[in-house]
Structures are given as C-alpha cells and as structure tokens.
Symmetry: C2
Subunit: 210 residues, 2 copies
DNA sequence: GTCTATAGCGGGATAGAC
DNA sequence: GTCTATCCCGCTATAGAC
C-alpha cells in the first residue's frame, strides 16, 4: 500500500476515536466501536496506536496543541483596551462553539483529575505562551490610564473564562431553564457575547467612562 | 439482624458508592471497589441495589434532591436588591465548596449528555421550585426602581452560575495558571466572592448608584 | 442479611495468515 | 498493512450455602 493510504488509515482511526472518546469518555469508549466507525479492523488500532490509553492521549495531544495555537493567535492581536476585551470574548466564544470536542475532552480531563494533563497545561502556558500575561497587561494598562477601576486582574480573567466555557458545558441544562435559548442559535450567541462584554466592561470600567 | 444494622449497611454502601462514582464516574467505577470501601461483600450491592446503574441513580437522586432543597432555602430569603445578590453568591459558593461531590456528579451527567437527567432537572425546576423566577424578580425590581440598567436578566443568571460553578470545576487548571490561589484557601474564597459580587453589581447597577 | 463460588460475557490485546 | 481467530482477564451479576 502507498504511504498516502497509510496516512488515510491513521487519520480515519483518529477521527473515529475522537468522536467516540468525546461521546463516551475514556472508560466508556469501546475499541470495537472506534474500529467500526473508522471502517477498519479492531486489530489495526493496536497496530497503529499500541493500546487504548495511547490512542486517547494522541487525541488529547492534538486537540490541546490546536487550542494553544488558536489562543496564541487571539492573544497576539492588539487593540485599545475596550475593543481588546470584546475581541477576546468574541474569539473565545467562537472557538468553543466551533470546537465542542475540545470542550468535552477538557471536561473529562478535569473530572478525571489527571495530574499529568494539568502539568502539560502548565508547561504549555509557561513556554512561550503569553496567556494570561497579555490579558493582565491589558487590564493593568487600563488601570494606569485610569479607565479601569482598581481590582485584581486574575479575578476578571477567571470570570471571563468561566462565563464563556461553562455556558457551553451546561448548555443542555440552561436550555431547559431558559427554553428560548435554542430557538435562534446564532442570534443568541451574539446576544451572549454582548452580554458578557457589557457585564465585564460596565463591571470593571470606572463610572466616568460609560 | 436488626433493621438498624440493615440501614447501616445500606448507608455504608451508599457512602462508598458516592466516593467511587465521584472519583471514577459511572463507567470507571468498579463494584468490587465500592464493596471494599464499604467493608461488605460485592454480592450485597446487588442484594440492596439490584445493579450498578441503579446504585448510581440512587446517588444522583439523593445528591440532587439535596441540592434543590438547599437552593430553595437560599432563594426564599429576601433582602434588598444589592444584598440579595451578594447573599446568593455567598451561599452558592459556600454550597459548591462544601459539596464537591455534587459538582463532579453534575459534570459527569453533563458530559454523558444524559437526557433523563436533564428532564428530571427541568421537572424539579417547574414543580414548586421558584428558581430562576425569584432571581429574575429581584433583577426586574431593580430595573423598575431604576437602580439596575436595562438588560436581559437571563444573561446575568447564566453569568453568575457560570462564574461560581466553573471556578471550582476548573480549579486544578486555574491553580496552575495562578499558583497564588492555593496558598490561603479561605482568604481566597472570600476574595472570590467579593470579586464576583463587585463585577456583577458594578456591571448591572446604573452608574449613578455607585 | 451476608457470605462463597461461579457463571457468563464483554472487551483489550496478540498471534499469525495473507 | 490489513485481516481472522483467539486468548484471557476483569467485571457484572446470580445461585445457593449458612
């Protein structure tokens, strides 16, 4: 077989594995199901990826390296303080919305309490990845300029991330509590972006700035 | 054996089961481990709870009925608008902090995408459970009084819940990004409550109110 | 009500033909 | 590189003694 076909097979397995791991988690996933969805034999999974755990780690690796790449791109663009914050929220929500896989895998790893994952995350942040420093700088700059009220920037960062991520994580519940959410997805997403931006900007800007 | 001893065994099993399900999730949990931790024989789990799924549902049921009870109590106390919001944040964060089990089980059910769970949640809210109506009323009242700026209360509710819940869910990651968090737990919790309250109140109150 | 023993099978992993 | 066949362990669940 040609190397191209080989790559096809590897990729087919990875795609199928991602689907199944996202839906069922590491423990709930079945190698047989991955093989079926990939349209290949179960033994091939072991040929290419040795075992289940290893295959799972492959998915985690690729998913989070893509995530860090995206965040780096977002972080590196600079605007005036207020625009910068709106821009971050806009991009962040877009990314999560378009990468539900990322969100679920993040959830599984958090619940697993996988220390190795946490340490990798830490390493990725420390090495050449300027988040959250860049975000903190924006807020500090606003505080120096006198446009943002005095507070601990860390709290704001935690709050933004939480508002953006948890909304999607708990979407099934929120949509039960507030049925209107599901009616017009894109409309609602835009409303959500505006609401988070407003809360944040009204919440950290000094009254005189509004 | 006396009925009291029977209740002891049932309770021991439930406690052990809660621990294991919280740590490993439904798929990752092992009946043998539950039996070991409860100090009883594996067959007893089936004698009392028929099968694994049923035992798990028992844990979910009791955990969430306790949750709804607590939220009802919190919601039913009334204060002036601003205090009411601070009070809710205070109580909400306290509850989550003292009930990590609840948090993790919620996470597992969200990731499982368990529709039955979502529907039960919906039912619990509809039947005699005044959240989020009570919260909406507080915000609407503030808007009528002219102390709160015009906005969709739903967005605020989603934001508060997200900020409070996700902080604890992602604590292992946040503590890697901001190592200071772990130094003084109670101090930090108080700082967090204040930060969320400030963000919210500055963010939804009209400038003239500050 | 609690135990021992075991059924029964699902599922990860490997050997080996092609 | 891909398949078939099979191993074999681990786990849920049950039967049955005490």
């Amino acid at each position: 077989m040609s190397p191209i076909e080989t790559e096809d097979t590897r990729a087919k397995i990875l795609n199928a594995a991602r689907q199944v791991f996202v839906e069922k988690g590491l423990d709930g996933a079945r190698m047989q199901e991955i093989a079926d969805r990939a349209g290949v034999n179960k033994a091939l999974l072991h040929y290419y990826y040795r075992n289940k755990e290893n295959l799972y780690q492959e998915i985690i690796r690729s998913t989070f390296s893509q995530f860090f790449q995206t965040v780096t791109n977002i972080i590196n663009s600079t605007h005036p303080v207020e625009e910068q914050i709106r821009f971050f929220i806009e991009q962040h929500i877009n990314f999560i919305h378009q990468n539900r896989d990322f969100l679920k895998l993040l959830g599984y790893e958090l619940l697993r309490g996988n220390e190795t994952f946490f340490e990798n995350f830490e390493q990725a942040i420390k090495k050449g990845f300027q988040f959250p420093e860049r975000f903190i700088q924006v807020i500090l700059k606003g505080m120096e300029e006198g446009t943002i009220r005095e507070h601990n920037p860390m709290q704001t960062i935690i709050s933004v991330i939480s508002m953006n991520v948890f909304f999607f994580l708990a979407f099934p519940l929120f949509s039960k509590i507030f049925p209107g959410i599901t009616e017009n997805e894109t409309t609602f997403l835009e409303e959500r972006k505006k609401a988070v931006g407003d809360l944040l900007l009204y919440g950290i800007l000094k009254p005189s700035q509004k």
